[in-house]
Symmetry: C2
Subunit: 301 residues, 2 copies
């Protein structure tokens, strides 16, 4: 059997289209949703990431600004600016880029960030809201992207056995909370888990986020399984050397071997031929969160 | 085989003894740990619960006060008093009794409560701290009591398969977060879970918190299993009628049948002959949390 390919790009398109409709409606009412990025220094990776965000929010008609601090910014200066943005009625969401330089206290920063302007769930209070199923909270975008995938493709979760291979605070733990709230039976697995293959084989749905190509192999899946692979990895051969494509570049993959697409019932993974993975949903959700924050701040939610 | 009985009362005694030592040490430094209860009205159940708390904190040399509000207290009055206690340097912890009358907005109250003075983890920010493993947070006492039980009896969790039958915010979800952080492989089960008996039978540790006597039967356990039953229930016969003792009173139980003590390797449950359950640990942990809060507030942690 060949798996149905689940397309994160298709789900992302639907989310972005809705965000654009919502942003246009808000603007017609004189309300301008606006994202502000806090960035320290000129790290090329951060600048490239920021460019991607600018394109995404511009495409859906959400305004953008950035506050760029010098590398030697003090905690007082950073917090003062953050509080200003917290209180600024024209700001709907704030993204603080990490890592931060050593002199900044991330602990104080994350708890200072206005919980209603926190589209990336940096403030732990938003993780608490996720746990109590408070709909006015923000969830981390990667696990929420998996839930969007299930919803888009009509994949029922009630009573399903779901294995999550990851226990991090950005993915596995919030993913487990969302799945339990959706009435799935969820098992949180990790490096200390025994008989992982057996657990996956018995599952209706396997969600993996390890970052190691080959982590999930076809013999770990049953023929009715849905495999959601959110990992970003690179292809290696059996000796552990990178496999290069015809242009001499590394090949992007997820955790899954290509052959998983011949075994599972449904699959998405960044591994070639496996649907592409959930990455595009993660960035699209930023726009959905910004609209939600903007509506909450304006008494429309 | 007969299970080793795990005694919640024994664990609680150890926690209370440590709290008393800590409180005495703080008082010798001129610091008085103090619990304040916020209670609305004169509900007999609440008053009885409060009396138990007063005895517990008095026994370990922690000070106590209560703010008693009339049934018609306004949100403004309640919040004003809460903020006063939040800022009062002589208050180490605040317990808000529930349920609250309809005119009070519990949402605002729980987010207003000072996270450092929140021994019962009412403020969702403390659940967020649990998720990110921030040691300056407070966890809900019931699941933390289970972790205290494991620690006291030297029960290793690394790589163990643990089934948790409960997905509530006060128990199952935080329990799962604690177990995953302790490197157990945790499965969150609930009313929609299929093949529950099979899942329990395969587990090294089963933790149940349903509140239904007979929920866990010996055939659901393997002979090496550790069964932690935190439920408070009453004994019923097969027809669903309460079974009464020789004095005509209902018989307190957990979720487990008595016969589980003949099957598992270790057990604790409120069911007669099963070790007594974790209840005593839950109330003892309040004193541990008060000491912790008092130390944090005084820069000693």
């Amino acid at each position: 059997m060949t798996a149905k390919l689940l397309s994160g790009a298709e789900v992302a398109q639907a989310i972005l289209a809705q965000a654009k409709t919502d942003a246009d409606e808000l603007k017609a009412k004189g309300i301008n949703p606006k994202l502000v990025v806090f960035r320290v220094g000129e790290d090329p990776g951060s600048i490239s990431y920021e460019k991607g965000i600018i394109k995404t929010v511009n495409d859906v008609n959400i305004d953008f600004a950035n506050y760029i601090f010098p590398e030697n910014v003090t905690q007082e200066e950073f917090i003062a600016k953050l509080k200003e943005a917290n209180d600024d009625k024209n700001v709907s969401g704030i993204l603080v880029f990490k890592p931060l330089p050593a002199q900044l206290d991330e602990e104080e920063i994350k708890y200072t960030l206005n919980t209603l302007k926190d589209p990336d769930a940096m403030n732990p209070a938003n993780l608490g809201k996720l746990m109590i199923e408070d709909e006015r909270g923000f969830s981390p975008c990667t696990p929420e992207g998996v839930m969007e995938m299930f919803a888009h493709y009509g994949i029922d979760l009630v009573g399903k056995d779901v294995v999550v291979i990851n226990r991090s605070v950005v993915f596995g733990k919030p993913m487990a909370m969302m799945l339990a709230a959706a009435s799935a039976t969820v098992t949180i697995c990790h490096s200390k888990t025994k008989n992982l293959a057996e657990k996956c084989k018995a599952a209706d749905i396997v969600i993996t986020a390890v970052g190691r190509y080959g982590m999930v192999t076809p013999d770990m899946l049953n023929e009715n399984a849905v495999l959601i692979d959110v990992a970003m990895s690179q292809k290696k051969d059996k000796e552990g050397n990178f496999v290069l494509n015809e242009k001499g570049k590394k090949i992007r993959t997820g955790d899954s071997l290509e052959e998983c697409a011949e075994k599972a019932a449904m699959i998405t993974s960044a591994t070639p031929g496996c649907g592409g993975g959930t990455g595009p949903i993660t960035s699209a959700l930023l726009t959905k969160h910004l609209i939600k924050g903007c509506k909450m701040l304006n008494g429309l939610l």
